[in-house]
């Protein structure tokens, strides 16, 4: 494989490329879905191919193919150069990559059990047993489960001399129960954190131990009260926060967006470079740390697809906006000497783009439990899990829901609510954060299906958080 990689680099260089890289990747996927007592989908795929990226006079070209042979690699490398030459026709400023030391290295997700070596009947049996237990509750009319297993084996090489090999394994499972009646249907799900781990991340005992709670909460959800409209305090659990962080901080601090490069689809960002080190993004207790070295993080891949090694840095420090996720292409635009290393592609046939890193809200520094936080809240709503989510193309106005909602009155949970949404403006929201539980309650949840780019790419990243409180937020019933 390394010979084939070198062939691509040689062909590109001799055809005029001042920089070239190649990724040769095998993507292995297994997906198992269950619906009630049946397996609704059981798929297993293996997909091998390569992508060649070149810079010719500062203009990008990229081409990929699923046919990994010497002849095809030559053809595709030449095609990438041809495309780059077409790109030169509309080039205002040549692309200049910030430096990154060349290295020969390898990275492998630390895992104990290869998920593809585990018998399929064990995985199917687990999901069907979960459904059976959910459906054993009289009020549950529908149960679904899904297991996601991924393995990506990659060889990256570039004309600067880097040769990087990696194997990243990802595992995750989730399930959901539906209660149906009174012309309504409400659900409750359970989704332990997906991680870059082996099958040991699928904790069968824990998954089964939660079925009764999930079923009972789905039934209670169906019969819950509507949420009164008004401004109230919100307490969000780590899983709900994961999506809020993702949308209102993660995407907003991708430097390519901030520079206008994603305008044609995903949009731009209010967090422009002139606001760096000046914008009060959140209250003083709010710290967002990007960490692509986080053990078992979904974006912990050793290196990104620029060949930059994983790093840890602040995006928001003590409430102040201080950093971006970058690629080698855009890092120089704000004077960085080195990329933060968040340039990734989702497939051998996709061009690497700036992606959200593992990005987490740091836990509070003072001891604080969820129970203490609730007991300190007079009039609020406590939300668990992910639900409806929408945000504008500048990442300002957002509206989120959740998976389960409880009313808080005078420091006590008084009962479940339904159809709850909260709406705010990003900086107003994070500046209203006045309490974050401590590190004992920090959970590294994550996102397996982040869409970005044109053509669209799907990526994964971890967003850890501990429960946190937000004061005086517009909360209402979805109607």
């Amino acid at each position: 494989m390394k010979d084939l990689a070198q062939l691509a680099l040689d062909v590109a260089s001799s055809s005029g490329a001042e920089y070239a890289d190649i990724r040769i990747i095998t993507h292995r996927r297994q997906g198992i879905s269950t619906e009630d007592h049946r397996v609704s989908q059981l798929t297993d795929s293996e997909d091998t191919g390569f992508g060649v990226r070149v810079l010719v006079n500062g203009a990008w070209g990229f081409a990929g193919s699923g046919n990994v042979t010497a002849d095809e690699i030559k053809r595709v490398a030449l095609k990438a150069v041809e495309i780059a030459k077409a790109s030169r026709r509309a080039l205002i400023k040549p692309v200049r990559l910030v430096p990154e030391p060349a290295r020969v290295a390898s990275f492998r997700t630390p895992y104990q059990i290869d998920p593809f070596e585990v018998d399929v009947d064990r995985k199917v049996g687990l999901l069907l047993e979960i459904n059976r237990r959910l459906l054993s509750h009289a009020g549950i009319k529908k149960a679904v489960g899904h297991m996601t297993l991924r393995k990506d084996q990659k060889l990256f090489a570039n004309t600067e001399g880097s040769v990087l090999e990696s194997e990243v394994v990802t595992t995750g499972v989730e399930y959901r129960a539906w209660a149906i009646g009174n012309n309504d249907a409400k659900s409750r799900g359970y989704c332990p954190p997906p991680r870059t781990m082996g099958y040991e991340n699928i904790n069968e005992e824990d998954l089964l131990a939660n079925t009764d709670r999930v079923a009972q909460q789905a039934i209670e959800h169906l019969h819950a009260r509507e949420c009164p409209e008004g401004r109230r305090d919100l307490i969000l659990d780590p899983l709900n926060l994961a999506l809020t962080i993702h949308e209102s901080v993660g995407h907003a601090t991708e430097l390519d967006r901030a520079l206008g490069m994603e305008e044609s689809l995903a949009g731009r960002s209010f967090a422009t470079p002139d606001l760096l080190n000046r914008l009060q993004y959140g209250s003083e207790i709010v710290n967002f740390v990007a960490d692509n070295t986080l053990p078992h993080g979904l974006a912990t891949h050793g290196f990104d697809d620029d060949g930059v090694e994983g790093q840890r840095w602040y995006i928001v420090k003590d409430g102040v906006f201080v950093g971006y996720g970058t690629s080698r292409e855009v890092a120089g635009e704000i004077g960085l000497q080195r990329s933060t290393g968040t340039c990734r592609a989702d497939h051998w046939g996709s061009i690497p783009i700036v992606r959200i890193p593992n990005l987490s809200l740091m836990p509070g520094k003072e001891p604080l439990t969820l129970e203490e936080l609730i007991s300190d809240t007079k009039d609020g709503v406590y939300i668990e899990g992910m639900g409806s989510f929408s945000i504008d193309q500048m990442r300002c106005n957002f509206q989120f829901g959740g998976d389960a909602f409880w009313e808080i009155k005078n420091g006590k949970i008084t009962g479940m609510l339904k159809n709850v949404i909260y709406q705010s403006i990003t900086t107003e929201f994070w500046n209203s954060c006045d309490a974050i539980c401590d590190e004992r309650f920090w959970v590294p949840n994550g996102v397996l299906n982040c869409g970005k780019g044109d053509p669209m790419q799907i990526s994964q990243m971890t967003h850890g958080a501990a429960p946190a409180r937000f004061r005086n937020i517009k909360v209402g019933s979805a109607r």
Binding site: R38, V39, S40, Q41, L42, T43, D44, S45, T48, G51, A59, W60, G61, F62, A63, G64, S65, G66, N67, V76, A80, A86, S87, R89, A90, I92, K93, D119, V120, D121, V124, K142, W178, N183, A185, G260, M261, E263, S264, F270, G349, I353, S388, F389, S390, I391, D392, Q393, M394, C396, N397, Q399, N419, I421, Q423, I425, D454, P455, A478, R479
Partner: protein, 431 residues
């Protein structure tokens, strides 16, 4: 692009390796190119050629699937064995049906050689024209020009073989000033129908007309929705049509089959042979795509029936919508605006998501051109707004319909601009 006899040979060979009761094999090949611009420059320029094969086998009703992108005899044998291994270990799928029998298909014209053969230079020609126009108009431009060609074939152990080739070309353009943006798109299966100049001109005019936007308090307003905005909402209607979910009480359409749910002027249908919006005439498994009216003059006339649910309920098979066709009139957007005393004109929406699927209550933002209408004329631009609105209520509140045009973000759509009364805008944003 692959020839049908080559595909048949590969698929037949894969099926011959199977020892299962049923075997279906699916082959796709695609070639795509995309040139992307931002800040008046090409920022991304990519091409990808891909090919893959999937196999689905069944022992009784124990089913397994596997896929590969290698095509040697050894690889084909291995992928079939992998699918069979999964099927043997699988629990019975009580909704499994044997593969379809061979049948005849209607013809639709979805493939244009010129689109499939579009070169990076040709895409660069188009975007350079757009950039040049933007520079003259003193606006910043972002967008993309993408061309796509695909081949798909299916065969099964009952002797069915079907194949189709499709192309598409799409240009999207966002023009920006310091405080405004305007958007336009062109979509066609034939790249020759894409006019970069007129598309760019529309985006530039939208952006220039959106400068100095004013704030509007959220609330219910009469809204003129341009076709892109309509298609985005209708995609959610189409995804909610599943009959099984409705019959199980899990859908906004539960209990509404055969009932009036929309204004009488609303007819929503799918047809793979529509000359303006053609799609494949068969589904992935080889089942023919029928013409279906989902909403007929305001009445929910059909839900979407899978093969299993159709057989279980005795309803004709419909499959899922393959395109969105909403009947219209000859009225232009300007003519629709002329009939509105007070309201807003929406270019398109962004980031639409479910809020309450049981009512098809959706939320989303306006984007790239929102304007205030008064006295039948566009008066001034507005800052963007968030909406919380049921797609079903929207169809019930349709007051006027214009001339359909093609738009192609989610699935091919031929939809008109519409006028909706009391469209619910719920919050403001900063721009």
């Amino acid at each position: 692009m692959m020839r049908s006899d080559e595909a048949k040979s590969i698929l037949t060979k894969a099926i011959s390796f199977s020892k299962a009761d049923h075997c279906e094999a699916f082959l796709y090949a695609s070639s795509e190119g995309s040139t992307r611009i931002a800040n008046n420059a090409i920022t991304q320029n990519v091409a990808k050629d891909d090919m893959g094969l999937s196999v689905r086998v069944a022992f009784g009703n124990r089913v397994g699937s596997a896929s590969t992108n290698k095509f040697t005899d050894e690889a084909l044998r291995a992928v079939v064995e992998r699918a069979e291994q999964l099927a043997r270990l699988a629990q019975p799928d009580t909704e499994y049906l044997p593969p379809p029998e061979p049948t005849e298909y209607r013809q639709s014209v979805c493939y244009f050689e010129a689109t499939a053969e579009t070169s990076p230079e040709q895409r660069a020609d188009a975007v350079c024209k757009a950039i040049s126009m933007a520079s003259k108009a003193n606006v910043r431009l972002a967008g993309s020009f993408a061309t796509y060609g695909s081949f798909y074939a299916v065969a099964n152990s009952n002797g069915l073989f079907a194949h189709t080739s499709e192309t598409s070309a799409r240009m999207v353009v966002t023009a920006m000033t310091d405080d405004s943006s305007g958007w336009a798109e062109a979509w066609s299966r034939d790249v020759k129908q894409i006019d970069p100049e007129s598309t760019t001109q529309r985006a530039i005019e939208k952006a220039l007309a959106a400068r100095n936007p004013r704030e509007l308090e959220p609330g219910p307003y009469t809204a003129v929705l341009e076709p892109a905005a309509v298609a985005e909402m209708l995609a959610f209607v189409c995804w909610a049509l599943d009959a099984k979910a409705a019959h199980e009480g899990r859908s906004a359409f539960s209990g509404k089959e055969g009932q009036r749910i929309a204004a009488e002027s609303v007819t929503l249908r799918s047809s793979p042979t529509d000359p303006l919006c053609p799609t494949s005439t068969f589904f992935g498994d080889g089942m023919p795509v029928p013409d279906v009216a989902w909403i007929d003059r305001g009445v929910l006339s059909n839900l979407s029936y899978s093969r299993f649910w159709a057989q279980k309920t005795g309803h004709p098979f419909t499959g899922q919508p393959v395109n969105i066709i909403m009947d219209g009139t000859d009225a232009s957007v300007e003519e629709l605006v002329s009939g509105v005393e007070k309201g807003v004109l929406v270019t398109r929406f962004w980031y639409i998501r479910h809020v309450d699927p049981m009512r098809l209550l959706l939320t989303g933002m306006t984007r790239d051109g929102l304007y205030w209408i008064e006295g039948g004329k566009v008066q001034y631009p507005l800052k963007n707004l968030r909406f919380n609105e049921s797609a079903i209520d929207m169809l019930a509140q349709v007051e006027a319909i214009g001339k359909p045009s093609l738009t192609g973000d989610y699935i091919p759509a031929l939809v008109p601009p519409i006028v909706v009364r009391d469209f619910s805008f719920s919050s403001k944003t900063l721009f």
